[in-house]
């Protein structure tokens, strides 16, 4: 598996996600600078890591979404290549139009840094095939702008097409939109593109891959990607 991790000025989780990919796939990803105009030949997976690209100036992810490398990412996605955006990476994917909607300030204005409970809504995607359908997993969140918002028609379409892949849930496993930690519409934590090849999510699966650190719920996401690419 050949993966590329994009590095923008202000990205700060690129090392963690590169380590997770290396652990799970056995191959070190290429680190690709935002000002580059091409991905390494044969790239299977592009990762947009978390952080504060361009200091979150203007809007989170707004400037990174217009960086030179994003044209290559767009072309990669159009070919059906896999793209994973985590946290700030999700914000960048929304700003670039690769995923619909937008992530706005958390409803209660606080930066939230803690573990979140998530439901894996489906397991027939390249990102979730190693999870059970409906599995409840724990990934950490660390964001100030993770409140997913889209117009009613977009939300309806996302739900009808089964494109909500991760949803915040309460300890009993049910969603509660009135109590959701950051105010996200329909308790949305992560969505996929129409062709299921672009995933954006606010929580950090790369934090939970090593038993030395604690839970390893995030590992199966990276194993899913490796498995999907082996099969292809």
């Amino acid at each position: 598996m050949k993966s590329a991790v994009l590095v923008f000025p202000g990205s700060n989780r690129e090392g963690d996600v590169a380590r997770a990919l290396h652990m799970v796939s056995g191959v070190k990803p290429a680190m690709v600078w935002h000002a580059d105009t091409a991905l390494p030949p044969g790239t299977d997976l592009v990762v947009l890591p978390g952080g504060f690209s361009y200091g979150d100036y203007l809007r989170c992810g707004a400037i990174a979404a217009r960086a030179p490398i994003m044209e290559a990412v767009r072309a990669h996605a159009a070919r059906g290549g896999l793209v994973l955006g985590i946290c700030n990476g999700f914000q960048i994917l929304c700003e670039s139009g690769l995923l619909p909607g937008v992530l706005v300030r958390n409803a209660r204005l606080r930066f939230i840094c803690r573990e979140a409970l998530l439901k894996v809504e489906r397991n027939d995607t390249p990102f979730t095939r190693r999870y059970a359908r409906g599995a409840i997993v724990r990934y950490p969140v660390a964001h100030g702008e993770g409140n997913y918002t889209a117009d009613a028609a977009t939300l309806k379409r996302l739900e009808e097409e089964g494109r909500v892949l991760f949803r915040y849930v309460m300890p009993d496993g049910h969603r509660d939109d009135a109590q959701v930690l950051n105010g996200a519409a329909n308790s949305i934590a992560g969505i996929v593109s129409e062709k299921l090849n672009v995933l954006g999510l606010m929580p950090h699966p790369e934090n939970h891959v090593d038993p030395v650190v604690g839970p390893t719920d995030g590992r199966a996401l990276f194993e899913s990607i490796v498995g999907a690419l082996e099969k292809a």
Binding site: L58, R59, A62, I63, R66, E95, P100, G101, V102, V104, R105, N106, A107, R108, L109, T149, A150, D151, G183
Partner: protein, 80 residues
């Protein structure tokens, strides 16, 4: 010529920052404020002196970068 671009949240979008400011004004005892919405102002200097050209450039700038039209609207004011 000079221009000012105002970017504000669409009325249907919740504005938690505006709400917090509203609450702070209330607690400061500033009377008669029923609602606050926060937005952004961009003061832009343009090479052209042609208002139509300036308007077109700024519209392009808003659509491409200054506003996220999923949640925001923009207004262009030519200042001269």
């Amino acid at each position: 010529m000079k221009a000012r671009v105002l970017v504000t949240l669409k009325s249907a979008v919740l504005d938690p920052q505006g709400k917090a400011i509203e609450g702070a004004l209330r607690s400061l005892g500033v009377p008669g404020v029923s609602s606050v919405r926060q937005g952004k102002v961009f003061d832009v200097e343009l090479d052209t002196s042609d208002p139509a050209k300036a308007e077109a450039t700024l519209k392009d700038a808003c659509e491409k970068l200054l506003a996220n039209t999923v949640i925001e609207t923009y207004r262009i004011e030519l200042v001269d």
